[in-house]
Symmetry: C2
């Protein structure tokens, strides 16, 4: 009996390891997990027009976040408002980091109807945008 | 004997789980792991002077990467050169993402002698810098 309990515990523990080590893909998670593959990071900064209301800005931030529900090449998404004490943001106030597995996945995202509809919604209140993309190292 | 082997295997497995689940800190890993806690992201963009040599730039990139060996509040570090097809980088060519657990950890990083020495080394070849920090959502 004790031996059986010991065996069962091992099976359970092995299962837990499997869960923890399992596929990289928290898929739509807010952060992306460390992975042995390189990831394609798409970093987007927005500066909104001075007359944009907080409600309009919130709507855009929500709409950006909703893109991951419509575009399945997005495997990671993070965003936040600038809180740097260094005052080197050049007026950019919002940062978005979208993660893809490949350049082809970004290429599918940019012209995607959902992304295009988002940019149409964004433009009236956008003062400036900055984009850099980079590959993570292995 | 079998029971002992079973027990030992469990201890080993439990140890492995501890390693896998352990502190968010693959610490000095290139990417940061998904975590239930919010993380403080420090996003830094550099544009180098036109007369900066590739050797000088590589040296700065390596030096930035080495900061995590000297400043233990850095729990994640990524970097890459801009590969965006959108041409919206405003001349910034290098992106660095440094992750901390708290604002206090950034506050310890900024005036740290190793970071200060890095900025002294950087300045002669730096044309422009942009910094935004944000908190990840839970």
């Amino acid at each position: 009996m004790l031996r059986f309990v010991g065996f069962s515990a091992c099976v359970l523990l092995a299962g837990m390891i499997g869960m923890v080590q399992g596929d990289p893909a928290p898929g739509k998670a807010e952060s992306t997990q460390a992975d042995s593959q390189r990831l394609y990071r798409h970093v987007v900064l927005f500066k909104f027009k001075e007359d944009a209301s907080q409600e309009q800005i919130d709507e855009i931030v929500d709409a950006f976040g909703s893109l991951q529900d419509e575009i399945d090449t997005i495997i990671g998404y993070e965003h936040g408002t600038d809180v740097s004490p260094e005052k080197l943001s050049k007026g950019f106030t919002h940062c978005f980091m979208v993660t893809f597995k490949s350049k082809a996945d970004l290429d599918a995202y940019l012209p995607h109807p959902a992304h295009q509809a988002f940019t149409v919604k964004l433009k009236p209140i956008l003062a400036d945008v900055l984009v850099v993309d980079y590959w993570t190292q292995e």
